[in-house]
């Protein structure tokens, strides 16, 4: 059976990549009304962190064919 941790890995990886991508886009195209502490570029490092954790989970708990 596919491990629950694999599903969690997928969720974190996909969300992390999307958030990281959104952060990179904002880096080159700053919004007209930025959020507070926009200068910290949270989407980039937080999205990147989620993607890395998700990737680790996906690799460690990937389904094995018997």
């Amino acid at each position: 059976m596919v491990s629950i941790w694999f599903f969690i890995g997928i969720a974190l990886l996909v969300d992390g990549v999307l958030i990281f991508g959104a952060g990179m886009y904002e880096l080159w195209h700053p919004p007209a009304h930025p959020v507070v502490l926009f200068s910290l570029h949270a989407p980039i490092w937080w999205g990147g962190l989620l993607a890395v954790i998700g990737a680790i989970y996906c690799l460690k708990f990937k389904p094995k064919h018997s």
Binding site: M1, V2, I4, D15, I19, G23, V36, A42
Partner: protein
């Protein structure tokens, strides 16, 4: 995407395309999990008990998640804004001792008896009348609560995102019905663990960025003292009198009402959370799961209470009670978490934060539905209506009950929409059963002299006393001075004392009736009562794998935290 965009009108935040993709991906993933697990839910043991093969981590996180709904997140963040750090008591003394008590004292009895549910244990210990009373009241209240939560969720999504209430109700109800009916408890547990991770991923940024903006914890305390009161950042020092703290509560209410009764009742006998532990694969996992849950529970104030406190310090506007917000259009206390989310989270992060809230709502609903399905099938339908069905028949009944339970919840949600006051009544009603039920179960486990009639009448009269006290205060508000021992007590304080008195009524009646009726023989109580049951060992494992060791670690951290924030 356009479907969601079409429902956004007047609202707190606006989702971008990337946010909407993240939300849609979440719905797709939970449905995919449900479809994947449909072939793993063919027997009753699979469907209702997740095959009893969950590891300690999965059962523990699911146990915690079932209680970590979005209403909980938003409500307690709002309470932190309103009452300050006092709200943390509901996460620490109002949870940790009870979770450890469940792990080390009660779980062995639940586990050894191989019961499917808490009412099932009452049947084994006290007989059919006690089971029927608790099963019917639990089943009835669970679907009502599910409906109330569903409506509350739809209302929040309308306020925060501008989504249409009908769409929110049917979309979330349909999704939950599909994945629970297909995969049963296992599917609900998988999604609860997923939700746990999404909530942390989606909300943890708020305290990180908030503390950065506020200039650290020390500066935050100074700002809160300036804008509200110094008592907003002290856990215990203002509890010596009813008027010395923002909540109007005395330390006896917190320690004896919340810590000893309400939390014990909720965390050890509410089948919604206990069901997750019963799915553990062995006795060590069943004992470790609540301890793991307790460890993480101590961290939850970081993503719930701290955002509320930060809101008090950094938000430019003054938040007001719900009743005032409805009239003036200002933001209410309960808006503090979405407001903080919108303050720091741009495209992508906002989508993840909103997904965390939706995930919290849906897994809370799934928790109610799975608990209702099990109690209905095993504690009402099988013993009272059809005791000769096959295992396949009961699984089929479980799947249909899931769908019907969701539909009743939807009906309740629409009822609440028409008559808003029902919401307060249903939430109050649910609390009526918790404290007396704890009295009945704990006496049953720890006192072998307790008899069937004693258990039944104690539960019935304890519940009746709780309802009577609530009705008394409702009809005559001055009665608060007797029920809560102070005319200044707020609603939360009233709940504490109401629980304490109803527990005492339950225990007294159970003891008196038990002493007047014929006791069961020791052989009949084997495996059900302390002293007559050989609690199985967790095995010859290293000390760092023993539940008692980790319970000790949790206790030490618990005391350190309470002293630090005294």
């Amino acid at each position: 995407m356009t479907l969601f965009a079409a429902f956004q009108a007047q609202h707190l935040v606006r989702l971008s395309t990337i946010d909407t993709i993240i939300v849609v991906f979440y719905f797709a993933l939970v449905l995919a999990i449900g479809f994947y697990l449909r072939n793993r839910a063919k027997t009753g043991e699979d469907f209702f008990m997740a095959g009893r093969d969950m590891t300690a981590w999965v059962a523990g996180l699911s146990f915690l998640s079932a209680n970590l709904g979005a209403l909980e997140l938003m409500g307690w963040a709002g309470s932190a804004y309103q009452y300050g750090i006092l709200a943390t008591h509901w996460y620490w003394i109002g949870a940790i001792p009870a979770m450890l008590f469940l792990a080390l004292v009660m779980m062995p009895f639940y586990y050894i008896s191989k019961t499917h549910s808490v009412p099932g244990y009452l049947k084994l210990r006290f007989g059919e009348p006690a089971r029927a009373l608790s099963a019917v009241s639990f089943g009835f209240m669970t679907v009502l609560m599910s409906g109330v939560n569903m409506f509350a969720m739809a209302k929040v999504l309308q306020i925060v995102l501008g989504w249409d209430i009908n769409v929110s109700i049917w979309l979330s109800a349909g999704t939950v019905a599909v994945y629970v009916a297909l995969g049963g408890l296992r599917s609900a547990i998988f999604n609860e663990v997923l939700q746990f991770f999404l909530i942390w991923a989606g909300v943890l940024l708020i305290p990180i960025l908030g503390l950065h903006e506020a200039g650290g914890w020390s500066n935050l305390k100074i700002q809160i003292a300036h804008r509200a009161s110094e008592q907003y950042v002290h856990l215990w020092s203002g509890l010596g009198s009813f008027t010395g703290n923002p909540m109007g509560i005395h330390w006896t209410g917190i320690v004896f009402g919340l810590g000893a009764i309400i939390s014990m009742g909720y965390w050890t006998t509410d089948f919604l959370v206990v069901q997750r532990i019963l799915a553990a694969k062995d006795i060590r996992s069943a004992e470790m799961a609540p301890i793991i849950g307790a460890g993480f529970k101590m961290l939850v104030p970081l993503i719930v209470i701290l955002p509320g406190l930060l809101g008090l310090a950094v938000l430019p506007m003054q938040l007001v009670p719900e009743s005032v917000a409805t009239v003036t259009g200002a933001h209410s206390y309960n808006d503090v978490l979405p407001l903080m989310l919108a303050r720091y989270c741009g495209p992508g992060l906002l989508g993840l934060g909103i997904t965390a809230l939706i995930a919290g709502f849906m897994s809370g609903m799934a928790g109610n539905v799975t608990a209702f399905t099990t109690v209905w099938t095993y504690d009402i339908y099988r013993p009272l209506i059809n005791s000769k069905g096959t295992d396949h028949h009961y699984v089929k009944m479980g799947r249909w009950t899931t769908v019907i339970g969701v539909l009743i919840s939807v009906g309740t949600a629409y009822l609440v929409m028409q008559f808003a006051s029902i919401m307060d009544y249903v939430q109050a009603l649910f609390s009526f059963f918790i404290a007396p039920l704890f009295g009945t179960v704990v006496l049953g486990m720890l006192w072998k002299r307790a008899t069937g009639p004693g258990g039944f009448w104690g539960l019935l009269l304890g519940t009746a006393s709780s309802i009577s006290m609530w009705a008394w205060v409702k009809m005559d508000p001055s009665a608060l001075r007797y029920v809560a021992m102070s005319p200044h007590a707020k609603t939360l304080a009233q709940d504490m004392y109401q629980a304490l008195w109803s527990f005492l009524v339950c225990v007294t009646v159970t003891v008196v009736v038990s002493l007047a009726t014929k006791p069961k023989t020791d052989s009949e109580l084997h495996g059900l009562v302390y002293g007559l049951t050989e609690v199985p060992s967790v095995g010859n494992v290293p000390i760092y794998q023993k539940p008692h060791f980790w319970a000790g670690v949790v206790v030490v951290i618990f005391f350190v935290l309470n002293i630090y924030f005294w």
